[in-house]
Symmetry: C2
Subunit: 399 residues, 2 copies
């Protein structure tokens, strides 16, 4: 065809990508850098480093030429074997004929690749709200439609009936995150069983994100829907080492998925990543050999930080409503104000040097809410952080 003047801008972004929300973490990060000395209750990170055993495994591996080359698309055999044992022992998930494992560069990638494998343009994925923002973005990137179903306003538990009502002929998956980001809710076993049964009956996938599985308090435990009898064919379980082992920089996560989806996910991972970064996989093996005991070492201190966060917020009385947060390291606070949440966040950073994440990022647009992340705090920093937040909210809400 003849060369013509372009009728549209060359750098035009695909419409469904342009419609995806701009990630908020970098935006808040830029505000923090613009206001030096700000304490961040923003990004979901832990304060502790990876176990020494992870780095030990790594320094052994660096001397092996093979470890600088591509690995198998699904992961290093030794790591896959370790994960299989962990899934059997801790989660009750049997990897074998019906379920397979893929190691990814983080839990986000596991989710995106699963959604890319399942979703055709216009297909629907049900997300309870508040949602984890990258889940909603992933559905948009795949050309799908996120169908938002509110959780209970006081407990943030999902409603099986509301999810059932949201199912349509276009539904491809229902997503649950427990312990939850951003609310800290630990979903009831009964609720997860009912959602999983609903998915099975309706022929849709149940994607369960367990990135925070080890982070529970007051005797609560996270339940794995992948352990339910008959769940293997329609359940994807996502895990991450970023939080549990202080390995966010290393980008290692994994998923247990129906074996029928494995060929599709392998195609996508081959095209996206080829294989998960091998140094990270080697470190992950070292970390998982230490196991959950490593995370548990830090949990009493984190539980104490959590108690202090909740106590500090309680001093604000009915100006702030906080739901029981029995897991992860987040508190989701509804604030009684006419201010919009991003304005409130900007003022907290600029005027009080404390950063949190606005609730609208998580799909909560009625009223003003905030996610407070306390995983990076310790006993010696929590007092100052919460004093800034409480005094900041008092000052701004009074104004």
């Amino acid at each position: 065809m003849p060369v013509t003047s372009p009728a549209r801008p060359t750098a035009r972004v695909a419409a469904h990508i342009a419609a995806v929300q701009t990630p908020i973490i970098p935006t808040v990060g830029e505000l923090i850098r613009a206001h030096p000395g700000t304490i961040s209750l923003g990004q979901g990170v832990v304060h502790y480093p990876p176990p020494p055993e992870a780095l030990g495994r790594l320094s052994e591996a660096l001397a092996v030429p093979e470890r600088h080359r591509y690995a198998h698309v699904a992961g290093l055999p030794a790591l896959l074997e370790r994960i299989r044992h962990k899934l059997a022992d801790e989660n009750g998930i049997a990897v074998g004929d019906e379920q397979a494992v893929v190691v990814t560069a983080g839990g986000n990638m596991a989710f995106l690749q699963a959604v890319l494998a399942l979703v055709e343009p216009g297909d629907e994925v049900i997300l309870p709200t508040p949602y984890y923002f990258n889940h909603e973005m992933a559905v948009g990137i795949a050309g799908g439609r996120a169908v938002l179903v509110p959780t209970d306003e006081t407990s943030y538990q999902p409603s099986v009936e509301a999810i059932r009502a949201a199912l349509s002929e276009r539904t491809r998956a229902v997503v649950t995150v427990s312990p939850n980001n951003p609310t800290g809710a630990v979903y009831d076993e009964g609720t997860l069983r009912a959602i999983n049964a609903l998915c099975r009956a309706h022929g849709v996938m149940h994607i369960h994100d367990a990135a925070y599985e080890y982070f529970t308090y007051d005797g609560h435990r996270a339940f794995s829907p992948g352990s339910i009898e008959g769940a293997a064919g329609h359940t994807l379980s996502l895990f991450s080492l970023s939080k549990a082992y202080g390995m966010a920089a290393w980008r290692i996560g994994y998923m247990a998925l129906p074996a029928a989806l494995l060929p599709a996910v392998k195609k996508i991972q081959d095209t996206n990543l080829i294989c998960a970064p091998v140094p990270g996989q080697v470190a992950a093996l070292g970390a998982m050999e230490v196991g959950a005991a490593y995370t548990q070492r830090f949990l009493p201190a984190l539980a104490e930080v959590r108690r202090l966060v909740i106590e500090a917020l309680a001093t604000l009385g009915d100006r702030v409503a906080v739901a029981p947060a029995r897991g992860a390291f987040y508190v989701f606070a509804r604030v009684r104000t006419d201010l919009d949440d991003l304005t409130l966040v900007r003022r907290l950073i600029a005027e009080h040097r404390v950063a949190v994440i606005p609730g609208s990022t998580f799909g909560v647009r009625d009223g003003c809410s905030l996610r407070i992340a306390y995983g990076a705090l310790r006993r010696d920093t929590v007092a100052e952080a919460m004093e800034r937040l409480v005094r900041g909210l008092e000052a701004i809400l009074r104004g």
Copy 2:
């Protein structure tokens, strides 16, 4: 809606994903494992390890707590700065108002994320054939249509006229790879300039993959279309450390892209990866401080291996046609036989213990062709490898 029996299988893969070709490298890898002692001329890898300076940088970084946490979505500032200098000095690409840089977990991811940002379902991307298989897969994963345009049969240079004729209202990008995988062709500067001008005139992106930029022989040099005046707004340039620095396992690549696409690519990378693996980024900084001199140290030996490969193939006379391969570490051979290429590859592995990749993987379906990768060979292994390949082809073609 009422719970009904699923009308379709729950683990149904999206139709456009099911249509994506199954990656061949893992398949050939399984054949190799099934036939111990096989010499692989399959996967594109180099035989040398990363520079010691890369590992030195890494061991410093492991002691810094910050280096175990998430990094900025586009990359570590120090690495981005080093890349900007390299792009200016070596490629003539100016990063600034018009072009931005994003560090990814490998060059494949840079390509996939660019295509996801640009392509709406049904949009077209022009790929000269033979294509790099993951490029064609990426277009399919994004729901686009790969429009295949044959290169010259003897030189594997792309035809500007053929690309012009393939442009349509749905075209979003033209892809070039030079030095080329799988043919080893180094595209002429004039051809790349003409393709870039065509893209500019037609309002489509020119995506240029320069993963093998340092691998050229006999005085040939790779040209960077990103250096062309006026190219900044419509040119993406992709680079990889996997080959140049023997760092395939580390998963580090980067792209220079029009600034107007940066917000979209950051959204996708945040959802896919959050940030490139930090240990790899730190090692990459150490490697790039050594720079191209590291790769050049291995080039004389690689050039000698290449000479021996081409000489060995020449002994087959007109049974095998090999094009001038002036770059990368691939030779693309057309074989005169009625066998299909996958059968030939299977027999070479099973009967002669030498592995190559079938040409159909690269979109070449007329006749029988093979890609021979010699980057992993050294002077002491090339003789045995080529003897097996030449004797194997002689025996099979005779049969």
